[in-house]
Symmetry: C2
Subunit: 362 residues, 2 copies
């Protein structure tokens, strides 16, 4: 039977480690005392096993082998088997997951990946630039004007702020055509190929209707927070969209799953083409090591799955472009939102500085 | 403008508290420097405000007033505004949420509530009993036999283990009719009204198809983990089901959104009729205070919303029934799963002991 290797960090004393590891193996599979199971087939094929226990100073790491069949090859049940009940045990974190060969074939995977995003924007041989339309609550006209300013400055991808969803001041069905039109106009002026990533949100029915609006108006990339819409809805939406999908990490920290696993490995398997994450040294506390591990899981060879574009963000500035490029390399998209908008009257100029810095023409 | 009062616990020094509070207010609304916003309407209607800062020994509690309009009256965006980006800041927990009067009307709320579950089971004047079919990986025939044993013993609600989803050994479409039939047979023998709560899981399409199967076979209650299927899918499923819904806490990662908020308040507003949570003193580390607060949020008067049945679970035993009843009172359902199954050959007897203990006929 194929097994998923899931590694958990348990903050507890080493003397407890064997008992805790066995308890976790039961919790994340049969959820009952193993001694009360009579069915040999269940004992062999269903109960998770403890593969290793590695003690550290104040915690230990346990690797379980979880039967792939228990996940039903479906994402809600995969999340359940990886971190369902033990998410309620605050001393336990999920720090690594390795799937058996071929497991990923049951999931969409990135349909476009880095190359698809390069095709959509016409960008080769360098990192991409990205910014965000903000703040929510603005008029649609203001957001469209901002988008035009950014597009004229040559930014490659303009995304909605993740907080701009389908609210009254800027409903999806009115905002998306207006912003896309403003960007199309700018592209005609510059000969550029800036693309617009509107935020998809809400129920399955809402997502389907938003996909229709986006398609009708020539939208060429989408922004979705998988943990907000729900992982199964993210997978369903993926199949409804003919354009690359950027995954946003909102609500992803509500569970204690290591960011390289959730934002790197899992979002990739579920179909993200780009993954946004808070860069080290910004408003969030992700370490450089965590950020590099996310980028690695996004891009490293993995069966037939396309590579995913890492998008470091979260309090970044134009001044950090050089350092970010040397850290992440060219198969990266740099996202600066508030750091451009804070230039206010100098927004167009600051945007051009960002573009030049990334193009190496500063 | 109506405001949602959201209280966050920030583990940081008091000297930082004002700066951190203002930063959080921006993060959870406009997500950009407030000083860079020119639109007076946005400043007035959209930016979250700091209502209070309460210092404690090693942390401080900040209450933000978040504009209800920013949530678009929709659950994925509500989760985003409450805990989207700040979920990625590990020093921040969401510990309380108070909605403005009438806000709840945009969400389904419990359709049946405690009274509806009492109607479905015919139980009045006492707490209800619940157990779980386990382990996953068993044959459908084994699960049906178990269900019949439990139903003959007089248990009120028999739910699937939350790990029993739609996997190969027991696909929903084959398991649910078989288990429901076994319980119907037992009910005819005893004159009882035991009901069966199968686990709903997967994508929106899968949930809709499962709802159809359940309805076709006379299923009278459902089990769903809102955080696994996704909050929007939970709301959509609620509207497709004519029976009470029990919410399971899997993947709720409760340490960073306080369990009384997520499993009590939010699950109630979204339409749960019963809410399962790990009782204190079992396999999980929820405190007695946390458990009582969940029960309070589930049952306390709240506009027109029906009261929700608290279901303490997680490593409970028949020996604890008296203590649980005195703690939670009669508008409660006690869930013992593994604690019955570990009796093995004495399963029927142990199940009857559980039923007698709750009925006060022991």
């Amino acid at each position: 039977m194929e097994r998923i290797l899931a590694t958990y960090r348990i903050t507890a004393s080493e003397s407890e480690s064997r008992v805790r590891a066995e308890a976790l193996a039961a919790e994340q599979s049969v959820e009952m005392p193993v001694s009360a199971i009579d069915d040999d087939r269940v004992l062999r094929d269903t109960v998770a096993t403890v593969e290793s226990i590695r003690p550290h100073a104040d915690h230990f790491d346990v690797t379980l082998a979880i039967a792939a069949s228990t996940t039903g090859m479906e994402v809600s049940q995969l999340a359940n088997m990886l971190f369902g009940n033990c998410s309620l045990q605050p001393e336990i974190e999920l720090i690594d997951v390795v799937f058996p060969a071929g497991y990923e074939k049951s999931f969409p995977g990135p349909r476009f990946g880095i190359e698809g995003i390069r095709d959509a924007t016409g960008v080769t041989g360098r990192a991409l630039t990205c910014t965000a339309l903000k703040p929510q609550g603005s008029t649609v006209e203001h957001l469209a004007r901002l988008a035009k300013t950014f597009a004229l400055a040559g930014i490659d991808v303009i995304k909605d702020d993740h907080g701009i969803a389908d609210q009254a001041p800027h409903p999806f069905a009115r905002r998306v055509p207006a912003v896309q039109k403003a960007i199309d106009e700018a592209n005609r002026e510059t000969g550029g190929r800036t693309i617009y990533a509107p935020t998809f949100s809400g129920s399955g029915a809402a997502l389907a209707s938003q996909a229709k609006v986006a398609s009708d108006h020539g939208v060429r990339v989408a922004l979705v927070a998988p943990m907000l819409v729900g992982l199964p809805a993210f997978v369903e939406l993926r199949s409804k969209l003919d354009v690359p999908v950027m995954a946003h990490p909102a609500f992803a920290g509500a569970v204690r799953i290591a960011p390289p696993v959730l934002l790197g490995t899992l979002f990739r398997m579920l179909g993200a083409d780009a993954t946004i994450f808070p860069n080290h040294g910004g408003r969030f506390s992700f370490s450089r090591e965590t950020c590099m591990a996310i980028a690695k899981n996004a891009r490293a060879p993995w069966s037939d799955l396309k590579a995913v574009l890492p998008v470091p963000a979260g309090g970044m500035t134009v001044e950090r472009v050089g350092e970010m490029l040397s850290g992440y390399g060219p198969d990266t998209m740099l996202l600066i939102g508030g750091g451009l908008l804070s230039a206010k009257d100098r927004l167009a100029e600051r945007s051009r500085e960002f573009v030049r810095a990334v193009r190496g023409t500063a």
